[in-house]
């Protein structure tokens, strides 16, 4: 599983002024990930701090797996933000997936801000033990 070279900055229409033709750039963060492969599956973990289950999207498009997470809004009443090291409220990353996966056998969980995908391999791709008979 390798990463698709899409360091995109998605563009959304400027909404502050009705006559503004310039698209407004929305900053995107690339989540840190870990990918582990075993005989049966690929296990992908992605850090998405601040994202809840309603803000995460996992989609397959041809041979590409897209991850997207939108940080849940936090604006406490009566407070003003005075400092932030967070560069964006949206996470995105894409991966080229191998041909040996079973797209119908993908399990996704989101725990403590970490999205975990278990992507099973197609049965044909799993190793098969061949019994050797005595001659």
């Amino acid at each position: 599983m390798s990463e698709t070279n899409t360091l995109r900055k998605s563009e959304t229409q400027c909404c502050e002024t009705s006559k503004c033709d310039t698209p407004k750039r929305q900053h995107i963060r690339r989540p840190y990930v870990r990918v582990i492969e075993n005989d049966e599956a690929y296990l992908l973990s992605a850090d998405l701090p601040g994202v809840d289950e309603n803000g995460v999207e996992v989609t397959f498009e041809k041979d590409t797996l897209h991850l997207r997470g939108e940080v849940k809004s936090f604006e406490p009443e009566g407070f003003r933000k005075v400092y932030s090291e967070r560069v964006a409220e949206v996470f995105e990353r894409s991966f080229t997936v191998p041909n040996d996966i079973d797209r119908d056998a993908v399990e996704a969980t989101l725990v403590n801000g970490v999205l975990t995908l278990q992507i099973s391999k197609a049965k044909e791709a799993m190793p098969k033990k061949v019994t050797v008979k005595a001659g």
């Binding site: 492969e37 973990s45 850090d47 701090p49 090291e85």
Partner: protein, 144 residues
């Protein structure tokens, strides 16, 4: 074509390039880990105190420590990641296990008795209040 010809005479060069391509596929996007030694912080303020938000994805609630010393708020956390098994291959690993933390200095002395911390979706939220020493105190003006 030139490269192809040269590979014929440099079989190991071709192998090197192949290895580089494999490395690129799986390692190109590894980050500079030294730049990740701290967890991003966000600070919100009002007259009475502040709210700190610190990203700590993948950390168990029991592995987070929050303490206060004067105007400093200390956060320490420990992230555990499962080891790669004998029958597993690590294809890409940008996640870091171990201790991480931040110290945030507030522009006021923090009331150690009035701290509230919660952990949700991998983000630690800490509410701190100004110490009573910091709050404006009314002085009764006596008639001369």
């Amino acid at each position: 074509m030139k490269n192809r010809v040269s590979h014929l005479f440099e079989p190991f060069k071709a192998f090197q390039l192949l290895q580089q391509e494999i490395d690129r596929q799986f390692s190109e996007f590894a980050v500079d880990h030294s730049a990740r030694q701290h967890s991003p912080v966000e600070v919100w303020r009002n007259e009475e105190g502040a709210i700190l938000r610190i990203e700590l994805p993948g950390v168990d609630l029991n592995d987070i420590d929050v303490s206060v010393n004067g105007s400093h708020v200390h956060v320490n956390a420990n992230r555990n990641l499962p080891d790669v098994g004998e029958n597993e291959n690590s294809r890409l690993n940008e996640l870091i296990a171990g201790e991480q933390g931040r110290v945030v200095e507030m522009p006021f002395e923090v009331d150690a008795e009035k701290i509230d911390a919660s952990y949700l979706n991998g983000v630690l939220t800490i509410s701190v209040s100004k110490s009573s020493n910091e709050l404006p105190q009314k002085v009764v003006v006596k008639a001369g």
